[in-house]
Amino acid sequence: MSTAKQMKCTIRSLEPVGEYLHLILDAPEMPEVQPGHFAAVAVGGVGGGMLLRRAFSIHKSEPGETLELIFAAHGQGTQWLATQSAGDVIDVIAPLGKPFVLPRQPVACVLVAGGYGAAPMELLAQQLRARGCRVDVVLGAATQEKLFGVLSLKGVSDSLTVTTDDGTSGVRGRVTDVLAELMTRNESKAVYACGPMAMLQAVAAVAQENGAFSQCAVEESMACGIGVCMTCVLPVIGDDGVTRMVRSCVEGPVFRGDRVRWNDVDTIPQDTFGAPSPGGH
């Protein structure tokens, strides 16, 4: 478990990028960050009616200086955050969760992201390249405005492929439409993914079919982000072969793609450790 800090952070800037917002915070207490770590932000102000933090994967960070997050203002909490401005102070806990595991060998890697799931990918690409890994990136979104990080990821990768559902940018279709061929061509051995659950499931399947290891950063609804509430659980197979309902905030958010029981998310599979007998509990 990483040691997280609860910090009061002053907003340095909050700017739109496409359909998203890019938040840069002054974070003098910020510890070292690994790609895949996330931050939990209190929303609504002191005494407000929203008690639960909003979790965002960390885009970038300079330890002791700044913390950068990308978010979409699609709910009440993120809409509040979007109304904040430079100079305002927000309460942030970071870094949280288990980050992406990097390969020991300089193997070819593919980074796959849906929408603002691309937020942690620049940092990840930089670290992989520093280890001598080939880095290919696939970014997908419903439409051009919902892509994130195209230019910055181009600068830190060996190739970048864009897919959009409506064909407004890059290849018309899904990330998985281009993934298999890309993996074959570059003999990719590891796939890193961040985005919606359905995308992660599809990416994990393609990785497995192509004999590659996959690491998926999941999006489960969280209440605390620090491991105390047991809200963000999903069925994951452990090293011992046993399925448990594990907390995505402390045991994730990054999981091996072949260990998550994607089809059983939002259920308690019958063979889960401690599962209820028929009739429920």
Binding site: M1, T3, A4, Q6, A42, G47, G49, M50, L51, L52, R53, D91, I93, E220, S221, A223, C224, I226, G227, V228, C229, M230, T231, C232, V233, L234, R244, M245, V250, V265, D266, T267, I268, T272, F273, G274, A275, P276, G279, G280, H281
Partner: protein
């Protein structure tokens, strides 16, 4: 001089007035990165059962105005692993520990109490007879004075320990004072109140209840006045009964309301999800609230709202 915040629950002396609330701090370890857990009044652990338990399907949480609904369903590792890992950690770190227990039936409560009475590091027992996230309403023992008393009598009969036994009560009853009387007669040393209120949120896009468990327990500041009322009523009826108060406490000011209503100490619950350092912050704020009103100690304020 800053006010004396030490307090007690029956025979258990507490160095600080704020405890964690069961189900809102796991077994304390995760909070250690935000403060020294041994300086809290106590950690009240998430309710432990005999067997490992997966809990309910997700979604398990729905945010509501000034609160949330949860349908976790008592996910936990079972008593054996709890003793080995969680209780051992708490004991090693000198954390005052109140273990919350939950059973599927009266016998399981007894079995858990029998096991816990024999192990070191258990400073109190909170008997969770009021978790709403169970399949059968009949399992909410705290909704019926007879079944509530049966659980407590069974626990008491095997609890060969000086540590206090608290019964956790549900506000989802017609008359909480009647339930309090029945558990007192059955031998509790105090009561914890309140547990969550049963609620539901409907997803109108999917046209179904939002939570995997359909219903869930409502907690947070939204339920605070219900908690204050329940504590006030029970303290009025049974003034000598120690009360551990909880239900949406967010600030020291909130905590002072609970103390004035009759609680001897308070547990901080849902607010921890948004502010993990809240149990320490609220203790400090409570001291300031007392000091600014000219009180020298927390104990002189317990139940004070009943005098006016």
């Amino acid at each position: 001089m800053s006010p004396d915040l030490t307090t007690s629950l029956g025979s258990l002396q507490l160095g600080a007035p704020t405890l964690t609330a069961s189900g809102c701090a796991a077994a304390g370890k995760e909070l250690a990165q935000f403060g020294d857990v041994s300086t809290l009044g106590a950690v009240v652990t998430k309710s432990i059962m005999m067997q490992p338990r997966s809990g309910r399907a997700t979604p398990r949480m729905a945010e509501t105005p000034s609160g949330m609904l949860n349908s976790i369903g008592l996910q936990g590792p079972g008593i054996e692993v709890f003793l080995e890992k969680d209780l051992a950690w708490l004991h090693e770190n000198n954390v005052t520990t109140i273990v919350s227990i939950a059973g599927n039936n009266v016998e399981e409560f007894g079995e858990l109490a029998r096991i816990l009475a024999k192990v070191p590091g258990v400073d109190g027992l909170e008997v969770n007879i009021s978790c709403p996230n169970v399949e059968s309403r009949g399992q909410v023992f705290a909704c019926n004075p007879v079944s509530a008393a049966q659980v407590i009598e069974t626990v008491r009969s095997v609890w060969h320990s000086d540590a206090p036994v608290l019964a956790k009560l549900s506000p989802d009853v017609t008359d909480i004072v009647e339930i309090a009387h029945s558990v007192v007669e059955a031998g509790v040393d105090g009561v914890s109140m309140i547990n969550t209120l049963l609620g539901m949120v409907i997803d109108v896009d999917g046209m179904k209840p939002m939570l995997g468990g359909r219903t869930g327990g409502l907690s947070g500041p939204a339920i605070r006045p219900v908690a204050v009322r329940a504590i006030y009523q029970v303290h009025a009826a049974i003034p000598h009964l120690p009360i551990l108060g909880m239900g949406g406490i967010r600030t020291g000011h909130d905590a002072l309301e609970f103390i004035a209503a009759g609680a001897s100490a308070v547990s901080i619950g849902t607010v921890v999800f948004g502010d993990p350092s809240a149990p320490w912050r609220i203790a400090t704020e409570l001291g300031q609230e007392l000091e600014s009103r000219g009180y020298n100690s927390l104990s002189e304020v317990i139940g004070l709202a009943h005098q006016n």
